[in-house]
């Protein structure tokens, strides 16, 4: 039995895995994945090498925003289980050496939350001031409307209380009033509820918007940072080793503020998502040029020593150019979006494999980048077997179809009659569950699943990936992205051919003269680094991970018996 490693900075080296409980495994046969089902599948996740699960919201909810519209912060939605079932997931995961973080939405609740119902019916009661109410809809005019497609204003009239309420997202998700100390206390109480169950941290949804101030855009306000520091102090004091991962969909230069103070190693969030990395990887491969990635890495500020980025290729959300800052969007449109195919690709409601035309070489290259660029990688359930999507399902459900376990009925996801499934399994000829499923991938040693597992294993053997510095090597070929990750003598050289054509590259490795590169997938020795630029050739979309081992001299080469 595995054990959790005793390391407060575990998250800096962890491989995360986002799993949608409703779509992973149905143990009850009602057609909806549930917590007991997830518990059954923890062996699989342990085998794959996952260090930490990220569970999107599983709270009671009207499900008008994928569960991010929370109606009760301290309970489990009845269709996926009970608090005891959750405890089962947590205890079993911990016993297998897997940590668990859960989503937590602080900014707003569902309008079905009892707090909101109390607030609208009883303005003078204990919850009267829990939300942001106003007689007019003209305050905070500087705050943009985020969901411009569906919302006309950040204010919506409530016919019950006869006032407007404030909401940065959907009109059925009223923003909580963080100026009210009782709201802040209620948040801490809810966080404590889950921390007491033993969870290892939170992903905090939509953190930039907690406070409103006149004359500002209502994002990244000092009060918001102050509250996050307060949350962090509280967690550090009572629950050391638990982490806070912020979803701040902002440009890295702004996101970095959410890590907090540099001198103390960071006093706000332990982790933040690095949003621009994903589209830049797609752009770089599309343009056969390393610059989209090299530039974003160069523009990414240093972060405090006890902090880490979270990076991902795909997740449950769509990711569009609208979701980065104006400055970055202008740049990206100017640079890349003159290309209509690119636009179609970046408005992503699709899974990784269909986005990449199911091209194994590209899927492997993207995964190799995800696992070797700075930051902790977050895998999305099903991408490890190259699952497809169903673009005919509404909203974002197309990438939330049931996990494909076997070629049997309902892909082994559920024993229910197929018509009962909350979302249909993928059945098209290329990505359908008959062909694409865990069982088939586990049987074939050359499958994407085995390859991914092997890469995760290598990553975990080398601390340089999680903790190391990042040094872009440049090089003679603009289609080849090469970098060194280095941590306390553990040196990994990663060379990625972003082009579909075979490419040569000459690398300046003069700092490593005399060193023998060892290719990590096969353990093959490559020629020793000499005084001249190091020449490598790569197949189309090929990549190498090398360990730069010890410096060798002719005396130390070869087996002992070959030496004089």
């Amino acid at each position: 039995m595995a054990e959790l490693e005793d390391d407060a900075l575990w998250f800096k080296r962890a491989v995360f895995y986002e799993v949608l409980v409703r779509s992973f495994k149905d143990s009850s046969g009602d057609g909806v994945g549930d917590l007991k089902g997830l518990t059954e599948k923890l062996d699989y996740l342990q085998w794959l090498g996952v260090d930490c699960l990220w569970l999107p919201p599983f709270f009671p909810s009207p499900l008008r925003d994928g569960g991010y519209d929370v109606a009760d912060y301290t309970d489990v939605a009845s269709d996926i289980g009970t608090i005891d079932d959750f405890q089962g997931v947590l205890d079993t995961a911990h016993a297998k050496g897997i940590r668990v973080i859960i989503d937590f939405v602080m900014n707003h609740t569902s309008d079905a939350h009892p707090w909101f119902q109390a607030s609208r019916h009883d303005p003078d009661g204990p919850y009267g001031d829990f939300y942001v109410w106003s007689d007019t809809d003209d305050a905070y005019a500087g705050a943009r409307v985020i969901f411009v497609d569906t919302e006309a204003s950040n204010w919506t009239w409530d016919p019950v209380r006869h006032q407007y309420f404030w909401h940065r997202f959907y009109h059925h998700q009223p923003d909580l009033n963080f100026d009210n100390p009782a709201v802040r206390d209620a948040m801490i109480e809810a966080l404590s509820f889950w921390l007491d169950r033993g969870i290892d941290g939170f992903r905090l949804d939509a953190v930039p918007y907690l406070y409103e101030r006149e004359g500002t855009d209502g994002e990244n306000l000092p009060e918001t940072h102050e509250f996050l520091r307060y949350v962090r102090r509280y967690i550090d004091e009572h629950y050391p080793g638990r982490v806070v991962l912020a979803e701040a969909n902002q440009w890295p230069a702004d996101v970095v503020d959410y890590f907090g103070d540099h001198a103390s190693g960071g006093d706000e969030c332990h982790m933040c998502f690095h949003f621009p990395v994903m589209p830049r990887i797609f752009m770089a491969v599309r343009r056969e040029s390393r610059y989209p990635v090299s530039e974003i890495m160069e523009q990414t500020p240093d972060i405090p020593s006890n902090c880490q980025w979270g990076i991902f290729l795909r997740n449950h959300d769509e990711l569009t150019l609208e979701m980065v800052t104006d400055e970055d969007r202008d740049y990206m449109w100017g640079e890349y979006a003159s290309d209509p195919r690119m636009k179609a690709n970046i408005g992503i409601r699709r899974r990784l494999a269909p986005l990449l035309d199911n091209d194994t070489n590209q899927i492997e290259l993207f995964t190799a980048l995800l696992l070797s660029l700075p930051g902790s990688p977050v895998l999305y359930y099903g991408d490890e077997i190259g699952m497809g999507d169903n673009i005919w399902l509404g909203d974002r459900d197309g990438v939330r179809t049931p996990m494909q376990w076997t070629p049997d009925r309902n892909a082994g996801f559920s024993p229910a009659t197929p018509g009962k499934l909350s979302l249909p399994v993928i059945m098209d000829p290329v990505f359908g569950f008959q062909a694409v499923n865990v069982e088939a991938h586990q049987t074939s040693n050359s499958s994407l699943l085995h390859w991914t597992r092997r890469m995760i294993t290598i990553r975990k053997q080398h601390r340089a990936f999680g903790l190391g510095s990042f040094h872009d090597l440049g090089g003679s070929n603009p289609s080849v992205l090469s970098y060194i990750r280095e941590h306390e003598g553990d040196v990994m050289l990663c060379v990625n051919n972003l082009s579909r054509f075979p490419q040569p590259v000459e690398l300046d490795l003069h700092a490593y003269v005399g060193v023998q590169p060892i290719e990590m997938l096969g353990g093959v020795d490559f020629p020793r680094i000499g005084d001249l630029p190091y020449l490598l050739t790569l197949a189309g979309h090929g990549f190498y991970w090398f360990r730069l081992g010890k410096r060798i001299t002719p005396d130390t080469e070869g087996p002992p018996e070959a030496r004089a």
Partner: protein
């Protein structure tokens, strides 16, 4: 030590070097002028610079050789051995100091601390540098006409091999252009020159600038884009994933910025009909010489002359200034912080006065446009593909983007000037290809056909 310099094997060494302009038997070493020792050979490692005058049929040229005198041979740098010297003090193994790591450190030492010799000056600009006297260096293998070494991770020492008295234009332009607010060229940290004190003509010997570690030259980036387009016969150039137009446009803007800085830092002139007539005369003279060398130009000559006549007849004022002089994609670096323009030496073969002569900025634009043409068509020539239209589509799109980024206003006069320079450049290319790559002569010839039609 004042031993006469012998260097019996130096001619062999010189003839093997890429930066040396003559082959065995075609030159003699007529004089060697050593500068002061930067370190004494009696320590086991002597380092000094020797200015070597070489006489060829075309005249005399001075080469700049930093040499390391070692009392013991060093096997690992055998390829840099110039020869043996036998002096009263003993035998010395003489190496090219650019290939000797310890000797390079001695040379770099001059930039730090008080002056050590009277006949050389190690200038430092105010730009901060994060290397010190002991920072190790490596030689770069890519140079053609010079030798460069990388010092640490951030500095590049460019050793000028063939030197002429007076300011080296590369140093001169970098000194004027690199500074706060200018990120279109690499920052200049310093340079080495001879001192005029004892009547020597002043030479600029080397230049120390920022090493742009993550850069790739524009030529490679452009050809990557061409290859991407040619592989997708169904896609228009504007739809191709590897579209270069965004980069071409920014390169145009960077070129405009560099021209602006050069106009601010150096003299400018206004050229009217008279000077444009003189320019047309110069172009015509070059055409005549080229046509004598390359008979296939003959059918094009009348139409080319018409273009030059149009230039001479122009009734307009044109801005003239210092220009790059040899601008092409290979003189540009794509870095993670945008484009940089490098190598302001001008055409290395031309005399210094010609290289610093004022000219119209259109000359640089023409050089870059010809380079776009080469980037596209060279891929066809190398692969044997016959998709000329696709290559032309790429050229047209990126020409337009570059000129738009530059802010080029295509009125009739400006267009006549620009195409005259393009024609002149293509005429030169025909002669060059004829002598060096006869298979490629169709490339500039086809361009000429287009330019004069």
């Amino acid at each position: 030590m004042t031993e006469p310099v012998q260097h019996p094997h130096m001619t062999d060494y010189l003839a093997r070097q890429r930066w040396f302009g003559a082959s065995v038997g075609r030159f003699t070493v007529s004089a060697v002028q050593p500068l002061s020792w930067l370190s004494d050979p009696l320590t086991g490692l002597g380092v000094r610079i020797e200015l070597v005058t070489v006489t060829t049929a075309n005249g005399r040229h001075v080469y700049n050789l930093p040499l390391a005198y070692r009392s013991e041979p060093v096997d690992s740098i055998g390829y840099g051995l110039v020869g043996m010297e036998t002096w009263d003090e003993g035998d010395f193994y003489v190496y090219d100091a650019m290939h000797d790591p310890e000797a390079r450190t001695v040379l770099m030492n001059g930039f730090f601390g008080p002056p050590k010799v009277a006949d050389m000056v190690f200038h430092r600009t105010g730009i901060e540098i994060d290397i010190d006297a002991d920072t190790p260096s490596v030689a770069l293998s890519v140079d053609q006409s010079n030798t460069s070494i990388i010092v640490g991770e951030t500095a590049l020492l460019k050793w000028f091999r063939r030197v002429v008295p007076g300011r080296n234009p590369d140093v001169e332009v970098h000194q004027a252009l690199s500074g706060p607010g200018s990120d279109s060229v690499a920052a200049l940290f310093g340079w080495i020159s001879t001192s005029n004190a004892d009547g020597l003509p002043g030479y600029d010997l080397a230049m120390l600038q920022r090493f742009l570690r993550t850069a790739t030259d524009g030529w490679e980036s452009a050809r990557t884009s061409v290859r991407d387009l040619l592989a997708d016969p169904e896609l228009a150039a504007s739809e191709a994933g590897g579209d270069f137009a965004g980069d071409a446009e920014r390169l145009g803007a960077t070129t405009a910025h560099v021209h602006e800085l050069m106009a601010d830092s150096f003299p400018t002139e206004i050229w009217a009909t008279e000077q444009l007539g003189a320019l047309a005369e110069r172009l015509r003279a070059r055409l005549t010489a080229a046509a004598a060398d390359a008979p296939m130009l003959a059918p094009l000559v009348p139409r080319i002359e018409e273009c030059y006549d149009a230039l001479a007849r122009l009734d307009m004022a044109v801005h003239a200034q210092r220009v790059h002089g040899d601008l092409h994609l290979g003189q540009t670096l794509r870095t993670t912080a945008g484009w940089k323009i490098i190598d302001f030496e001008g055409e290395p073969a031309a005399p210094l006065a010609e290289r610093t002569m004022l000219d119209t900025p259109a000359r640089d634009l023409a050089g870059m446009l010809r380079s776009f043409d080469y980037a596209a068509h060279s891929v066809l020539l190398q692969t044997g593909a016959d998709t000329l239209e696709r290559a032309e589509e790429w050229v047209a799109r990126n020409r337009a983007a570059f000129l738009s980024g530059y802010g080029f206003v295509p009125d009739e006069g400006a267009t006549i000037v620009l195409s005259a320079y393009e024609i002149d450049k293509a005429v030169y290319e025909v002669v060059y290809e004829l002598h060096h790559r006869p298979d490629w002569v169709t490339l500039p010839l086809r361009a000429l056909e287009r330019l004069v039609s």
